[in-house]
Amino acid sequence: MEITTPTKVRKRPQLHRIQNGRFRRFWNNKTLLLMCLPAIVFFIIFAYLPMPGLYLAFIKYNYTDGIFKSPFVGFDNFRFLVMTGDLWRLTFNTVVYNLAFILLGNVLQIVVAVFLNEIRLKWFKKLTQTLMFLPHFISAVLIGLIAYNVLSYDYGLLNSILTSLGFDPVKTYSNAGIWPFIIVLTYLWQSTGYGSIVYFAAIMGLDNEIIEAAEIDGAGAFQRIRYIVLPWLKPTFIILLLFSLGGILRGNFGLFFNLVGANNTALYATTDIIETYVFRALMTNFNFSIGSAVSLYQSVFGFIVVMTANWLVKKVSPDNSLF
């Protein structure tokens, strides 16, 4: 390392030299910069250019006037969303669904990982792992079809079973009350196997000597899991938990849209989340301004939540914080 006298340099502000330095730095990095250029252009176009479009949230957009001539209405769109109760319902649904996904999901993933670790039959482990990952690899469209196979009033498997047991068939697609269970179960079905990989990998990282030492000290299987494996997973759990809390205002559009259907109004009370509402505002009601208002709300509060979550991660484990 070269020893410099920075104070002296700073005392003589030579503009052209600084510019020269900047330019030289730019020139030295030109190839690497060029290599990043496509990505930079890509994110400018597809991520940054839409951002100013959120201005739509403050106007009453109509097609003939376009963005620039439509009347400016300030916070009227937000007022409308609050007055109709839409904003509260969407926030509630999105947040509560995500909480259920995150908490139940992580718990189930840990259970699967711990049990997988207990399995010694190689072929059984391989086969079951493959099967459990399978739902992750199919499209949301197929998930919707599978749900229809089970839930359809006329032909669904659920009603076949119910009637054969002597119960009345359920009108699933018009009964809003049961949808939270359906959606959460479908989510768990799809994501648990895949999500358990992280926990399973963490258990693999556990030093075998620790377990052997515990066994020599007389720890049984229960104690081994309770006092060694689970505490070992705790940091991973907390980190993943905080990360997913950062996305608590982001909904899984594909899942909700394909399960519920495009215009099943009977289920909106319990299944409408921010993403599906914005989608309808755009594609069905052509109310661009209301849609943008909800998006802006989601982005701003989502941003605050991520920042808070990251701040918490930093406190728990500085190595894992995002920035």
Binding site: L32, F43, P50, P52, L54, F137, N149, S160, F222
Partner: protein, 303 residues
Amino acid sequence: MDDAYEARSIRTDLGGIIVKIVGYLFIGFFSLCCLLPFLLVLGTSFTSESAIKRFGFNFWPREFSTFSYKIVFENPDLMIGSYLVTIGITVCGTALGLFLVAMTGYALQRPDFAYRNRISFFIYFTTLFTGGLVPFYLLVTQYLSLKDNYLAVLLPGLLSPFLIIMMKSFVRSIPHAITESAKIDGAGDFTIFIRLILPMTTPALATIGLFIALGYWNEWYNSMLFLSPDMKYRPLQLFLYNVITSADFIRNSAAASNVELRDVPLESMKMATAIVATGPVILFYPFVQRYFIKGITVGAVKG
């Protein structure tokens, strides 16, 4: 073995056995739950429409019938068209996307790249704050004029911060000394990337490429947004979505096969289309599964 060891193993046996039994049962049950819905779709696709009407969807066809497959394959024009569109988008998108992700990831991982932190944050910020669906839609349809253009499906899927971060963590395992020595030998940054880094990161490229390819294969969201129903050949998942949600769509596509409208097996056609559209991925998937596992263990913990 001495007595103490024997005593301990007897004492712990019971708990261990219980944990094992519960473990096998639980894992076995859950795996079955993951498999059965697919068998349900498969079974129903081979069931005659009259049996479906009477007994509902079932794992095992009460009346075996390949009628719905016959309709799908007798006039395969739409299906083959969809396949070709999806294959085309997937191949082009994966090749280009993989190249861009790898190049960006490598450059951003170079410790001597002066702007790495700034550009990394520039990319990462897009996951923190977004313009939302409406401005994105207006951008693609009005300003880029990509409505009814396959590029509207291909372009937005090329890059993602998640995959760039994953590439960065893969590249991190390659010692920087390799780049440095090549530089001393006079190689340029791009040459180093192409000739040295790419061959050394093939497992990483396989993983990332598969993530991109799976994304394109399962893509239906942008297709639904930007491709209008009057496009004849649409990506596979959108085709499947139309078949599932619109009875008219099935009738129209079956009409070309000279089937009486009332004979069209609406329900089993949905399942047969789903099987034809998804089958290849599911058959392919056990062979590539390990790459996905690698990706999530590298990418999930920290970028």
